[in-house]
Symmetry: C3
Subunit: 135 residues, 3 copies
Amino acid sequence: MQSFQVRTPRRNAFVEITQQVQACVASSGVEAGVAVVFVPHTTAGVTINENADPDVVHDLLLTLDRLFPQQVPGYRHAEGNSDSHIKASLMGSSCQVIVAGGGLVLGSWQGIYLCEFDGPRTRQVHVQLLPGARE
Amino acid sequence: MQSFQVRTPRRNAFVEITQQVQACVASSGVEAGVAVVFVPHTTAGVTINENADPDVVHDLLLTLDRLFPQQVPGYRHAEGNSDSHIKASLMGSSCQVIVAGGGLVLGSWQGIYLCEFDGPRTRQVHVQLLPGARE
Amino acid sequence: MQSFQVRTPRRNAFVEITQQVQACVASSGVEAGVAVVFVPHTTAGVTINENADPDVVHDLLLTLDRLFPQQVPGYRHAEGNSDSHIKASLMGSSCQVIVAGGGLVLGSWQGIYLCEFDGPRTRQVHVQLLPGARE
């Protein structure tokens, strides 16, 4: 397992981590298999989405804020970040990317994002490489 | 593959299964890799979220019920559990946790939950261990 | 890694791909482990849900359209498909299914779906088999 840290800038932000994950793949020496990316947090997640037009990330965050406001009648959790927890579960605490030829197999527009929902903070990201079946 | 059963108490409930998954890891003898947790159901899911304050789970369920009520004009599925199906896809039918030193690598506040959305029922959980690449 | 193509019929559609994924498992020769299914797109996803009653898929699509309309005040992304991107992240760009006895371990009602949110298009699906730990 390899790990790295990410500093997030605001309460809600998507920070691209594709390069850091690719570096983990390279240093592992795995040529074919899967890279598992995991965040050990309950108010942050991981997702894969477009990294070409930053307006996509803007609209993703806008949508999540529209549907999951911070204050909702009935919320009991005293820290006031119940919206952060639901967003984290919706994005998920991990993603996986296939590795071939020693590199991540991502589509032309795909990037891997750490999803911050209760920042700014310093977050941890763990990466585990799994070797594929021999073909 | 290992399997265990979980009895769920209500229509909507998060039941923590971290200990059972850890037991699967221990009995597998895998020291480093990934544990894949999978539920073979279409109205239940799996997620990772906070297991310290039970109010977090309360608020997660409240949010899902607010956005996905059981009765919605236009629903065709005759069993009356279309909300259960969408919640299951949003949480996902599986999660993965990195294994290191023979144990699950979870954050301080993270627990693994079976998400019941059409209970009470007895649910199955499957766990498969994947060995990691040698470092 | 194996790949296949899927032609989607409409802007929003779930197309079942269970048979194609099973064929990848069979041709890999892997008896026990996990099949990772990945779509290299940012306006399509993958999910596992009921494949018995087509009304379930109808109701899933209806729910996603109700919560994520195509036009929302404040959206900046010029392509007019911000709803497609958020739906893709909610379903996820990958899923994983345990393999045992050379076959997918799915529940009685589970099927694997490519989720199209900006079709009709021809989409790619990648499948990577991961061998399980020896028991």
